[in-house]
Point group: C2
């Protein structure tokens, strides 16, 4: 397999991290060896899956940007058998300036991931809320991009900007990058606004059938330093992420 | 008066833009001449208050970062008498790299705001979801920082990182910067998690009394290219932002 999926959207708070964590767990539970890479200086994915946030920078994704190949001691086992994670660090904020203008600045992540991509069936990357060098590195390294999409004016307004960046990456750096599609998050079909706004989504984006509903259990799980699969395995959001993992596998094959 | 308030939090989707827009309108309706500066390349504040998002870069906040003094043609009148806005542009993404390492890189915004700060009672800055050069410029230029705070694990986890940056700015660049406080957004007192999480908030942050409740009307207003004061003037969130403007004025005096 060897799919590398970037979970990206510059709009903040659309459930990039929630999707990266739960899609990764769902894939790992279908016996696919999965690696989650946390590219966000907020380290939210790291905090949930490793229950702590402070790691020495050379044992995080930071050193992959310093041209170091990914070593075994940067890949941490999570409580789920087939799920591993390379944590983030607050120091990756510095990467933006370190790589600015460097001739290989956009290729650092894809260069280091290459060595390990054969070891995993899926590599999932949680991106920060911006279209900066970190996110561009993720798009250059990825085979596919999945776009969490809240049905809101700001999230939909931002789509054209995201598509422009994706087009540029496909043209200049990574012709193989495909848009896997958009996945609706916080989906509440009762509100009439949802239906009106869906019409405004650019046709260029394929919308996945699986919709992730709203549930207070998501926040409860995180606050209890857990995730939905451990905290509420039969919750509608947990089941939606299971369905999403099946749909993602179908779409990719 | 002449207060310059930065609305900042690197966590995405905590209602920075919603707070910046509605606090600005509420202040302007109390007869305070108010300027909103949109520092986010997403241009969400610009889109709501000016009903369009594309402006030539030299007529946006972009040129203030190029050492140009703020000209009258960058300050746009909104539909509210006492409310003006300097729009953002997608080009401000380039500012991060342009200013990196420049000796005056953190002072560009405060340098250009100085010329106009006497013309306004309040200047409100809507920041992007990151702790990068744009947000640091806003903290260096500000007299006060207001922190929209969603009661969630990720938002609370990020507070110490934000406080560290504020401390550094106070020590190295802007000793007069004060923390006005945190304001709870999406507040829903029925959920028990809210009460448990509130205890985890570092004592260092003063929490304002006004809490901004959740309401579907917020998103409805934005989707109709409007805002709460025009779309739903008696909505509980509109009234909460009116209360917030009174509390902010009291705290500042
Ligand atoms: N389906 C859901 N139902 C209810 N709450 C949710 C759901 N998904 C995510 N959340 C909550 O919404 C908030 C935002 O989600 P999350 O942090 O995953 O978004 P993000 O896009 O990663 O944010 P950022 O832009 O800061 O990286 C979190 O507090 C999370 O608990
Ligand atoms: N009180 C509220 N009740 C319900 N929805 C709200 C409320 N405040 C904001 N929202 C909605 O939540 C979403 C996030 O708010 P907003 O975009 O203002 O956050 P932000 O912090 O500016 O995000 P970003 O980090 O992307 O800049 C928006 O779609 C907005 O309509
Ligand atoms: Mg996230
Ligand atoms: Mg915003």
């Amino acid at each position: 397999m060897g799919y590398i999926i970037s979970i990206a959207n510059q709009k903040g708070g659309v459930a990039k991290t929630t999707t990266a964590i739960h899609l990764s767990i769902a894939l790992s539970q279908k016996n696919h060896k999965t690696l989650l890479i946390d590219l966000d200086p907020q380290r939210n994915s790291t905090g949930v899956l490793l229950k702590k946030m402070d790691f020495p920078a050379d044992k995080t994704i930071y050193s992959a940007f310093q041209k170091q190949p990914i070593q075994g001691d940067m890949i941490y086992q999570t409580e789920y058998d087939n799920l591993f994670i390379i944590p983030s660090t607050i120091k990756i904020v510095e990467i933006e300036n370190l790589l600015a203008g460097m001739v290989d600045g956009f290729f650092r992540l894809s260069g280091s991931i290459n060595d390990i991509s054969r070891e995993f069936d899926f590599i999932i990357m949680d991106c920060p809320p911006s279209l900066s060098i970190l996110t561009v590195n993720a798009l250059v390294a990825a085979t596919d991009i999945l776009i969490p999409l809240q049905i809101s004016k700001f999230s939909i307004d931002g789509l054209n900007g995201l598509l422009d960046v994706i087009n540029t990456v496909q043209k200049r750096y990574n012709p193989k990058l495909k848009i896997l599609g958009g996945v609706f998050t916080f989906y509440d079909e009762r509100t009439t606004i949802a239906r009106a706004m869906i019409k405004k989504i650019p046709d260029k984006i394929h919308i996945l059938k699986t919709k992730i509903p709203k549930s207070v259990s998501v926040e409860e799980a995180f606050m209890l330093k857990s995730d939905l699969f451990s905290y509420a395995p039969r919750n509608k959001v947990t089941l939606a992420y299971k369905n999403l993992s099946s749909e993602v596998i179908n779409e990719l094959e």
